[in-house]
Symmetry: C2
Subunit: 193 residues, 2 copies
């Protein structure tokens, strides 16, 4: 049984689709409030369904996490286009990295999920590799083409490192956010050393 809807041979029943949507909404809220380790029952309850229904659509917690985070990830990728249009290559790189920093900081648990190595997070890792990594790669190449001296670095590795630096404490405070940005800034400086 494929999780959620993988373009299966048959259409999904209408009520089932509604439940999936309700679960995604509920999960987004609960994750934001209590982190990705929140009790499964809390999500099911907020969505107004039984735990069985949750497990039917998202056999693994990671499936739910992946689904919730993927949307936000896409928004971050799209932001790159706007930034590239508005700023010269070097500055665009910095600006997008900061945009990405904020994105990761807002989604507690994303960083941990990303390189947990757990095969269950494959969908997230795939989105990461096919969307975010090429985006950074493009920005790096543009900056290099514009004459900037930028250390050779694997884009995926760099993005992973930035995500690590966004590990904030229990509550994402302004202080933690500032700290993350300072350290990411240091990493960016290192890229140009």
């Amino acid at each position: 049984m494929p999780p959620v809807e993988t373009a299966g041979p048959r259409r999904m029943r209408a009520d089932a689709r509604q439940n999936v949507d309700a679960l995604l909404d509920a999960a987004k809220d609960v994750f934001a409030e209590s982190g990705v380790d929140a009790p499964v029952r809390a999500i099911a309850e907020r969505a107004g369904v039984g735990v069985g229904t949750l497990y039917r659509h998202f056999p693994q917690r990671s499936d739910l996490i992946s689904a919730v985070f993927r949307r936000e990830m896409d928004a971050c990728v799209d932001a790159a286009l706007e930034i590239e249009a508005a700023y010269p290559p070097g500055e665009a790189l910095d600006r997008w990295i900061m945009r990405y920093t904020q994105f990761v900081a807002a989604k507690r648990g994303l960083a941990a999920a990303l390189h947990s190595g757990d095969a269950a997070y494959e969908p997230l890792a795939v989105s990461f590799s096919t969307r975010l990594v090429p985006t950074l790669n493009r920005l790096l190449e543009s900056a290099r083409a514009a004459g900037e001296r930028i250390a050779p670095v694997a884009p995926g590795e760099f993005l992973g490192a930035v995500a690590d630096l966004c590990h904030s404490g229990p509550r994402s405070s302004a202080e933690a956010s500032a700290r993350a940005e300072r350290m990411v800034g240091l990493l960016l400086a290192g890229l140009r050393a």
Copy 2:
């Protein structure tokens, strides 16, 4: 009831002291194998005691973690003395940071504990602030005194960032270790930009 032995008014019974030692040894092994989230029962069993005994000496999981990690932390601090004696200030800084990197990478969960913000990890945070932070501070000042241009940075923040970058996957592979060192290197380069 104070955890472990806090210079209480009365001596601890000899068998109790043995159990504490057995627990610390067991916990060190189990943490290394399965991470700091390993089941409490596994630790108690390996130590050959009941869970009640474990809870008597370490009411919180964090007490056990703190006790286990503190020893290793001290070893890392001591290493700085040797390194400072053997290398010029600038190189000593880099070498010690790498030593610290290896230390953190080996202790999965240390980074998370360090800035979890959880008050329970206070003992660890104290050791961190009183031992590691001054060590880095000394190394930074020495390097600056030797004429190196080093960005102003809070030592604690920097050490926290390095710890974050050591977040390896499930198994601490040579690959993950190499990745961590590359990114820490980038951060060090940023320090001198």
